[in-house]
Subunit: 200 residues, 2 copies
DNA sequence: CGTATCCTCAAACGATCGTTTGATTCCCGA
DNA sequence: TCGGGAATCAAACGATCGTTTGAGGATACG
């Protein structure tokens, strides 16, 4: 495997496990089986490596989210559940794809850290996704004030980030096929979030 | 102010802002206006200081939660909303008490970090609180399977932790009295969480 | 006044951090 | 086959980390 890929994989795992400050480049390069200097050679700095870890996964994740949303946005028979599925299902697919679940933990960490640099990077690059989803929720919940809507979207985001960071018990039982388990998880999350969004 | 108190206050603020690994004892003691060696003298180590930051706030927070829960647990006319209020209101009171809101950010960080030592400490010392609340939810939602119930309690916990860590917009408008703002926030959170818990 | 106890202080400990350097190896196109 | 950029390597840079030390100051009690 190319050196850059091995570094990104090890970085994802160690950032998830020990945080951005807690994972050192020496641990990281040792886990990847590459030389210590390789990070600065290929990425320039540790901060740029962190951004690249986000870019690689979020490009794919948000691409799928936007594609799913485009299919239903503005349509007359679209439901809250449809929009939530467009947001949640791509994330669940990622969680079950190789080390993707580790990335959801990295993402949960990024939310918990209130680091301004990282927040600005995420907002600049992927803020439009949240805005599109919020706009569609607004269309389907026209009776809610803007403040009410933001509140509920924020609570939904919190619940989903928490759940998908693996803190909860998204653990597949051995007798349930992976495909079926993913569908069940999606149903749980969508049912819960839809009830919260639609509450009177 | 006593040295120990000044250290705990500065620690709470810097742990919230930079994380447990990101905040150094040199920053911390400088902010507190005490000598570098004071941390190890009064607390023994940085890890023990971290535990003390949690203990100080959680003793008070969970004490109030348990007291509120005892008043309604097992009563025939208790509602989901009552139980949620017993869980949420003490946390909101803490959030509006001095540097208490910073502690909610520390707590959110602790959830995001999957650090085993910290998790064990929190579970050993305060796990009984979550078990009591879960038991009461189980009584009020008898139609839910144990798996369903755990799922929903976990999602509620995630949403509330997220919201109260200040990532959302729990920001009081200047023309709203603090007491009223706290009540409004509690209403938002309780309505959302109750809808999620009770969803069919 | 003497002294015992609690506390503070500057200084230093060894370890580890992210980053840089300069030499060496690899590999492909001319 | 040979030249040259790309990639890897061991080693070192200065800075910062948590922790420890031992001397000195403060305070209370005989």
């Amino acid at each position: 495997m190319p050196t850059k890929e091995r570094i990104l994989g090890a970085a994802e795992e160690l950032f998830a496990r020990h945080g951005f400050e807690g994972a050192s480049l020496r641990q990281l390069t040792a886990a990847a089986g590459v030389n210590l200097a390789a990070v600065n050679y290929h990425f320039g700095s540790k901060d740029r490596l962190i951004e690249e870890v986000f870019r690689r996964r979020l490009d794919q994740l948000n691409g799928r989210r936007m594609a799913a949303l485009q299919k239903i946005a503005g349509e007359p028979d679209t439901t809250i559940e449809n929009v939530l599925a467009a947001f949640i299902v791509p994330a669940l697919e990622l969680s079950h794809d190789g080390n993707g679940s580790l990335f959801m933990r990295v993402l949960a960490r990024a939310f918990a850290e209130h680091d301004d640099t990282l927040r600005k990077f995420l907002s600049d690059n992927y803020g439009h996704v949240m805005r599109q989803f919020t706009a569609e929720f607004a269309r389907l919940l026209p009776h809610l004030s803007k403040e009410e809507l933001y509140w509920r979207v924020d609570l939904v985001t919190g619940a989903l980030t928490h759940a998908m960071s693996g803190f909860g018990m998204i653990q597949r039982k051995s007798d349930v096929p992976e495909q079926r388990h993913r569908e069940q998880t999606a149903e749980h999350l969508i049912r819960f979030a839809a009830a919260g969004l639609k509450s009177p």
